[in-house]
């Protein structure tokens, strides 16, 4: 099909997502169960804090269009990190997200020759499609695949650090399931990436210039309708010669303050970042979803 009018094409594509048989069901507001939309991961995909889940942004089901927005702070020993972003969920099937990240090097910036308070920043455009299954209801777990295009717009600086470039694409697949019989959610993700520290320190390096396969996972226990606690792990590539990159861990508590607001607090261990070890601290996020 040739598309002369992009808007029409998008509408046709959306129509193709509509139910094929019977009468069309009305578009409606309505909700997922609390917390089952996930929070917003650092790179903007819905899921845990460090890793995507096979869930779609927003509170809507296959009969609606959802929306979420988040603000995230990470304060570790020597660095400050902020990100903010938005995501839309189309019929609980497709997620499109945008997130902007800022990573402030504080005093370390001076030591690295970048200047005190030098900040790396990055834009991430993400797309995810849930290809099968359901987080809560079906016996088949939710299964999704996604891409994240990352661009940090600081080519000269990340090359000086030893990276091969300032843009890259991550590809991932996630499998997620809420086991109601135990109130436990498990999620696993496989990611192909060449990003250094998510891409904030560029892509590729002297040790490894290509995409490598990395594994990530979350486990959460739902204590009540509104509260879940859990932990996450994210294996990381180690591409740069000058700075070792460690795997990430966190332990979190997420609280659905209302139907539309979820607050998350976590203790995060991000290991060595840009030559400075033991970057541990707190992760805070406020997310709103409709």
């Amino acid at each position: 099909m040739t598309c002369f009018r992009p808007f029409l094409c998008i509408m046709l594509a959306l129509a193709a997502l509509s139910p094929q048989q019977g009468m069309a069901r009305p578009i409606r507001n309505g909700g997922k169960l609390l917390l089952t939309n996930g929070i917003s991961s650092l790179e903007g995909a819905s899921g845990g804090g460090l890793t995507p889940w096979a869930v779609i942004a927003g509170n809507e089901t296959s009969d609606g269009f959802g929306l979420s927005a988040h603000g995230t702070l990470v304060e570790v020993k020597d660095y400050d990190y902020q990100s903010a972003g938005v995501a839309i969920g189309i019929r609980d099937r497709i997620e499109l997200s945008y997130t902007h990240q800022d990573f402030n090097t504080n005093e370390i910036g001076a030591a690295l020759g970048l200047g005190k308070d030098f900040a790396f920043s990055q834009d991430i455009f993400g797309a995810k499609i849930r290809v099968a299954g359901d987080l809560v209801y079906d016996r088949l777990p939710a299964i999704a695949v996604g891409v994240q295009y990352k661009n940090n717009n600081q080519d000269a600086i990340v090359r000086a650090v030893g990276a091969k470039g300032d843009e890259g694409v991550d590809y991932y697949a996630s499998v997620s399931k809420l086991f109601l019989s135990r109130s436990i959610l498990l999620s696993a993700t496989a990611r192909l990436t060449k990003a250094n520290q998510m891409g904030l320190l560029g892509f590729g390096g002297g040790k490894q210039g290509n995409h490598t396969l990395q594994f990530e996972g979350s486990a959460a226990w739902q204590l009540s309708r509104r509260i879940a606690i859990g932990g996450e792990y994210r294996r990381k590539p180690d591409n740069l010669n000058i700075a070792r990159e460690d795997d990430w861990f966190d332990a979190f508590a997420a609280v659905a303050i209302s139907r539309n607001v979820t607050a998350t607090i976590a203790y995060a261990d991000l290991g060595s970042i840009a030559t400075v070890k033991k970057q541990r601290g707190v992760f805070l996020q406020l997310q709103t979803a409709f």
Binding site: R28, G30, R139, S183
Partner: protein, 156 residues
């Protein structure tokens, strides 16, 4: 006379006074849509048959009054719904009942239930169970038996 009587019996097995007639069917525990729990742990967690009856009565009352999904219930036979829901829950929770109602697909045919309605129903059910003091973990264990029925309940 006996023909009418047998027809009545076939139309609504074990019907209570006040129930409207439904198309004939043969009662079968498999219509409950899930295998019962083993042991008496879940029955106890729900307060036995008395607790289950109070939860069902409250659950049905909340649903009929609900601003979102109330209209799905509006023309429903409340007497029959309370009885069959009680039997279904009691059977699955292994609290000593048999289920005489219809299977889930037949019982929900043409109701136009959407996924969001189903989630709303889970929330009203959580409310009814919480009011009766059922722990969140036990609530979820029971929901894990009911959740796979969604495909038979919602409008495709």
């Amino acid at each position: 006379m006996s023909i009418i009587l047998s027809l009545l019996l076939l139309q609504a097995p074990y019907a209570l006074p006040g129930e409207a007639a439904v198309d004939p069917y043969v009662a079968d525990n498999h219509h409950a849509g899930a295998e019962p729990f083993t042991g008496d742990g879940m029955a106890k967690a729900f307060g036995g048959q008395d607790g289950i009856r109070r939860i069902v009565d409250r659950f049905v009352a909340i649903n009929f009054a609900d601003p979102v999904i109330g209209e799905i219930f509006a023309n429903h036979d409340k007497v029959r719904l309370k009885r069959t829901l009680f039997e279904q829950f009691c059977f699955i929770l292994n609290a000593g009942c048999t289920y005489s109602g219809r299977d889930m697909a037949s019982a929900h045919k043409d109701l136009g239930v959407q996924k969001a309605d189903m989630n709303r129903l889970v929330e009203t059910f959580q409310r009814a169970m919480s009011e009766e003091g059922v722990s969140f973990q036990a609530q979820n264990r029971f929901l894990s038996k009911l959740a796979p029925m969604r495909d038979d309940v919602i409008e495709k």
